[in-house]
Amino acid sequence: MDEKKIFLVDRDKEFLYVELFQYLNKINCLPRYIYSKDINTIFYNIVGSLIYDIPIVLLDSDFSHNEIQNLGISLTKIDENIELKNKILVNYENFLSLLQNTKEWNITLFTSGTTGLPKKVSHSFETLTRMVKINISTKDNIWGFAYNPSHIAGLQVFFQAILNLNTIVNLFEQSRSHIFDMIEKYSVTNISATPTFFRLLLPSKKHFNSVVKITSGGEKFDTTLINHLRTTFPQAKLLNVYASTEAGTIFGSKNDVFEIREDIKDKVKIINNELLIHKELLGHSDSLKVVDGWYFTGDIVEVISNNPLKFKFVSRKNEMINVGGYKVNPIEIEELLNKHPNIVMSRVYSKKNSVLGNILLADIQRVNDITEKDIQMYLRKYLQEFKIPRIINFVEKIELTRTGKIKRA
């Protein structure tokens, strides 16, 4: 193994695999919660938790203290450390087998729930790495890392990379010019990102021949974007994936038709056009609705063929809104808005947007003078930025359906 092999590049800093091992050999405690903006801290702690086989909880770095308390986590606990008793010596020879030898380890993530409260999902090493490929063609991959590192898609890229001892180049929330510079400088071969990431990057007159595979998912891929991708990354194969926080990545497709692989065909079925996934493919969560072993995804599909099963995604059954790859539950925001003394009622909804796929809007019925800015500043105290409606319309009245629900159509 190359002693100079880079594990992670973040801005102008390079972290070598040997430096990761040195860190692992030096530590005597690990955090119970990972709550950091720093990708290097996040990855080092995940690796540490795997080596020492300790379950860990991953929090979004932009969660407000309020949001954390709503998850049922006491603020005094987020700085807690776990002492490591038996030291483990890590080196190139034992690193990968140590990573894969976990028994107790799991990682807990939070995702917007359908009831307004965030949903807690814990993944074992097995569910997270089910789609990881390790072979001769993956061992020299260089990953452009473009997801939030505390979300499932980011974790899956992380595992794909680290189990192959690949280099990870951080492209998440970087400027366009920096992203292009990094792809060029490190000859990035693989990029996995949301369509929004690519929409904000392209078109560009540049070409990058080093990129051989592009994976995307979470939102619809439009033809304009596909054409831009083909121009800028002419050598890249495009792959569309279906993934969720509950299940991780389950299937991929070269276009918008998904075909179910032979080995999991008994674990996927469709009832009334809704996609059902067997619980064996899922992470563990108490708030998941599982009926007779099946999880109702809320994703509505159109069946193309039954044997083998092929389908297209059509829409979502519930109200979740996808803002640039992040799921937002409008009910969570409405509940908060309705608590404001100057707001009678609110309706949060989305509008198609060429940057983010969807943008959040709100109609508000107010009693006293309150401005768009006041409302956004109020929400900012409680919510992550992507959950804040960007355009607020003041209306005379919010229309309700006959059952007293807010009209959403």
Binding site: S175, R176, S177, T196, R199, L200, L201, L202, P203, T224, L225, H228, G324, K351, N353, S354, V355, L356, I359, E372, K373, Q376, M377, E385, F386, R390, I391
Partner: protein, 77 residues
């Protein structure tokens, strides 16, 4: 004319995030690097420009500068 309306829109977005508003903008300014917009701001910008000028400036992919926005508005206007 367009530049003034655009300045207004940019300032609405900046002000709502409690960021200092701009006295003027010029066609060379970069939306991200000079004005400091993130992807959420850019999404809001498209909606506000579309409401004002009837043009989705990001429809064919990202534009980077104020000048490119003006160009799109003129092309479609």
């Amino acid at each position: 004319m367009e530049l003034n309306k655009l300045l207004n829109i940019v300032n609405i977005i900046l002000d709502k995030k409690n960021k200092p508003v701009l006295n003027e903008i010029n066609i060379k300014m970069d939306l991200r690097n000079d004005i400091g917009f993130d992807s959420l701001d850019l999404a809001e910008l498209t909606v506000r420009i579309e409401n004002e000028f009837g043009v989705d400036v990001f429809e064919d992919g990202i534009v980077s500068t104020i000048g490119e926005i003006i160009e799109k508005i003129k092309q479609n206007g």
